[in-house]
Amino acid sequence: MSTTNTFVQNQEPKVHDTDFEVRSLDTMCVSDTEIKEPWYGNLKYLLIGVLFGIVFVKAEIISWFRIQEMFRLQSFHMYGVIGSAIAVGMLSIFLIKKFNIKTIHGEKIEFHDKKFNKGQIYGGLLFGLGWAITGACPGPLFAQIGTGATAVVVTLLSAIAGTWVYGKFREKLPH
């Protein structure tokens, strides 16, 4: 009867193995910590976001034109950015695993394996089409709005709508 946000945690989904029930497939943005921090603990993520946003703008990663150059093979810039980010990320994860580095709270750092499903192909292609149109993945949308391209708010709202429609029809889609 209640229409408020009641979290049905154990509701049995019809489509298995594509999302947080098996967290590995959607671990991005999923917090693995068991530690309950006060809300202001989140301010450190705000600060990292700010630095990250500045890099986005100053390296022109959020530029629609740089994305067009990337997909026309006219510039190495975006390949250099993504490639070196992956290289540094890979080395970091290797070191974290090898030396069993803990979080600042002393927790063990968790990694999850992702399982293949066809969504990575269909969804990947659809996102690729959208990426070349908007010149932005989800992160850059926020930064583009910040630089004053206010009409991109529409793109962001539409992306949220797209996410919602995916959630609504998820069980009917091939995975």
Binding site: N5, L25, D26, T27, M28, C29, T33, E37, G41, N42, L46, I48, G49, L51, G53, K58, A59, E60, W64, V81, A85, I86, A87, V88, G89, M90, I93, T103, H105, K114, N117, G119, Q120, I121, G123, G124, L125, L126, G128, L129, G130, A132, I133, P138, L141, F142, Q144, I145, G146, T147, A149, A151, T155, S158, A159, G162, T163, W164, Y166, G167
Partner: protein
């Protein structure tokens, strides 16, 4: 120093800084780097509509909303204090192609001729902003991640599904930019 910071930063500075976000988030609080899930958290928080996909404790993922709010503020700060006074330099072939669609303004990071409020009422603007955004939101969630979650975090963690997803992102992008977008831009 400030003059140097105002210049566009090269890829070998920006890429490693973005890569360092991965261990920073892990070490600060066991958070896996990824951005597109913020869109899902917005759905879960604002309009869950009894859809199972949105029934989870989004408050536990609040850190992610702080992170994207920070990205927005980073955009504000960079545009306000560190903005490059010169127009963007792009490949001459791209410039020639864009001139054919009436895009000649390189003062912003998005083409002002396309991404503006009045343009929403034109077929070109509507497709670029509304349909484009929809594909980004729908596609990333269907794929289970975006450039950050799959291409950077996933590949860094040697995940084959992330390699496949990233290849599909690129294929979709190449098809759109070279085969479909020229048609949309000339609308």
């Amino acid at each position: 120093m400030l003059e140097w910071l105002k210049q566009p930063w090269p890829w070998y500075v920006a890429g490693p800084l973005i890569g360092l976000t991965v261990p920073t988030l892990l070490i600060l609080g066991n958070k896996s780097f990824g951005i597109s899930s913020s869109l899902r958290h917005v759905c879960a928080a604002c309009m869950p509509a009894k859809i199972p996909f949105f029934q989870y404790d989004w408050k536990k993922e609040l850190w992610n909303m702080f992170f994207v709010l920070g990205i927005f503020l980073g955009g504000v700060i960079a545009a306000w204090l560190l903005s490059n006074p010169d127009p963007m330099v792009v490949h001459p072939n791209l410039q020639a192609e864009m001139a054919g669609y009436g895009i000649t303004d390189y003062s912003g990071l998005v083409p002002n001729e396309v991404f503006n409020w009045p343009a929403l009422l034109t077929p070109r603007g509507f497709i670029m902003m509304v349909a484009g955004g929809f594909l980004v939101g729908f596609g990333t969630r269907y794929a289970g991640g975006c450039t950050s979650g799959h291409a950077i975090m996933g590949i860094s963690n040697l995940q084959m599904p992330s390699v496949i997803a990233t290849c599909c992102f690129m294929v979709g992008g190449f098809i759109m930019a070279n085969l479909i977008l020229p048609f949309i831009l000339s609308l």
